[in-house]
């Protein structure tokens, strides 16, 4: 939501088409691969448009550090990171305030579907590396994460997938790309559960009226459907 909008990004919608040719309710192309990291318990690679993410699950295993052990259930440790070469300006390696916050909301987005109580006192490590960033990195990472968790054989009550609803040129649109995110008015990442469409992550920055928020929620519900299908197809393909 920067304030210096280059000329070419002042018009993000023309004749109901977006700058990459999509319709307002159209997702970017999605590609999901399962089992890309042999040494991990579970792993997935996902591309949504130009955003590319690797997800790996290690565990359930001994929990470390020990003072964080929960005797009643497994602890989900999430590490979200942008690789140094994933953006135009190099990202310094190491955690930042942004990556710490995203790790936390991502954990909350997934915890409620994982049967953590089946692995008391253990740890499940989930690593999410953004290898190329073009908006929607946290949503894409969450979508990849639940596939990697499923691949690791961890029992879940459902899959979780995520996208973003945004406002650009005063109109609502799904799954913002880079310029739409940078020069649009509003960005709302949202994650839902496949079984009941309940919401496990929602953040919003920008400007929404009450009606826009309501519409955004229902657009999200509709848009996330194909993501669940893509997740399931990828898992099916892997096990065939």
């Amino acid at each position: 939501m920067g304030s210096n909008v280059p000329e070419k990004y002042k018009t993000l919608i023309k004749d109901d088409k977006r700058i990459d040719g999509r319709k307002l309710d159209e997702l970017r192309p999605v590609k999901i691969e399962v089992g890309v990291i042999p040494s991990a318990s579970g792993s997935a690679y996902i591309e949504i448009g130009n955003t590319k993410v690797l997800a790996a699950v290690h565990g359930p295993k001994e929990m470390f550090p020990r003072h964080m052990i929960d005797e009643d259930k497994a602890v989900l440790n999430v590490r979200y990171a942008m690789l140094p070469f994933s953006t135009s300006d190099r990202v310094r390696p190491g955690p930042s305030r942004r990556s710490n916050e995203i790790s936390k909301v991502t954990r909350h987005a997934l915890e409620s579907v994982i049967c953590l109580e089946e692995y008391p006192a253990m740890g499940i490590d989930l690593t999410l590396d953004i290898i190329q960033a073009d908006a929607g990195t946290r949503a894409t990472a969450i979508t990849a994460a639940s596939v990697a968790l499923a691949h690791a054989g961890i029992p879940m009550k459902g899959l979780v997938a995520a996208t973003a609803i945004g406002k650009i040129n005063d109109k609502l649109a799904v799954d913002l790309n880079g310029p739409e995110d940078n020069f649009g008015q509003t960005d709302m990442p949202i994650a839902m559960i496949s079984t009941n469409k309940n919401i496990t992550l929602l953040q919003m920055d920008g400007d929404f009226s009450k009606e826009e928020f309501k519409t955004a929620l229902s657009m999200a519900k509709k848009a996330i459907g194909p993501l669940f299908e893509a997740q399931k197809a990828a898992l099916r393909k892997y096990y065939e």
Partner: protein
């Protein structure tokens, strides 16, 4: 510091009948807003919501702008979970909470474009005002985000820009160039789900019982400028819509209280 399992169960079981302190489910505790509490700060506020207490202070300095916005001032929000409020703040996960608190307050102010950063440019590409918003938690009895958000905007509204002397140094001897360019008053309101019941302004014990938490910041025109869902459990869209409506209603009352405090401060 974590409350006992039995107490959690009690709170969960009874939330549909009554809260600990007899409040109704969408009722705030008593809020007090004091201004001008720190003489050395450019602006400051102390906010109490029930037993929760925070101090927000604004410090300003001249610095270099970011390369991609050479004509804009810089906003930095930082919150310290001081060991005053609880020594447990130092061990592990709460650091994460502190970062989330800072970032939610930060986004509420930044994304609502509350501060007109273009007016904080001193010399394009070279010198802009850096506005530091520091929040200290003095006592923690839940709902820190709302207290911090209210403190931050109140401190900003009462802040004075220091005078820059001819040699370019900042003169802090009580001379000022006027108020900060503030365009709106975003107010965050946080509600949670306890035993699937919506409860607003949760105290610390209630927060620990909450399955999910949802913060919604509203601006003057009743639109929303920032939202954040926290907590491990899911929420339905109806619950979110309901909570955002409560936020519209409650933020209005609190905005009036902020405006009254600022008016009194300037009088």
């Amino acid at each position: 510091m974590t409350i006992l399992y039995q107490n959690k169960q009690y709170i969960r079981d009874n939330i549909t009948k009554k809260r600990d302190d007899e409040r109704s489910n969408d009722e705030f505790r008593k809020i007090t807003i004091e201004t001008g509490v720190i003489g050395r700060a450019e602006g400051s506020a102390r906010v109490k919501i029930g037993d929760t207490e925070i101090i927000a202070g604004i410090k300003m300095d001249i610095g270099k702008p970011f390369p991609d916005s050479p004509a804009e001032g810089v906003i930095m929000v930082n919150s310290e979970f001081s060991a005053l409020a609880s020594p447990d703040f130092e061990n592990g996960p709460p650091r994460e909470d502190s970062i989330e608190l800072s970032r939610v307050v930060d986004r509420g102010i930044r994304e609502s474009k509350t501060l007109d950063v273009e007016k904080l440019c001193v010399e394009e590409g070279e010198k802009v005002w850096m506005v530091f918003i520091d929040i200290t938690i003095v006592n923690h009895d839940g709902n820190l985000i709302d207290a911090a958000g209210i403190g931050a905007i109140t401190a900003l509204l009462t802040a004075q820009i220091p005078k820059i002397d001819k040699d370019g140094t900042i003169n802090r001897d009580g001379k000022f160039e006027g108020a900060l360019p503030i365009r709106d008053i975003p107010v965050p309101i946080t509600s949670g789900l306890i035993n699937n019941t919506i409860v607003t302004d949760m105290n610390k014990n209630e927060t620990e019982c909450a399955e999910a938490i949802f913060t919604v910041a509203t601006i003057k025109n009743e639109n929303y400028c920032a939202m954040q869902k926290a907590g491990p459990s899911e929420m339905t869209d109806e619950q979110m819509l309901k909570i955002s409506e409560i936020a519209q209603k409650e933020s209005k009352k609190i905005r009036s209280a902020i405006e009254a405090a600022v008016k009194k401060h300037k009088a």
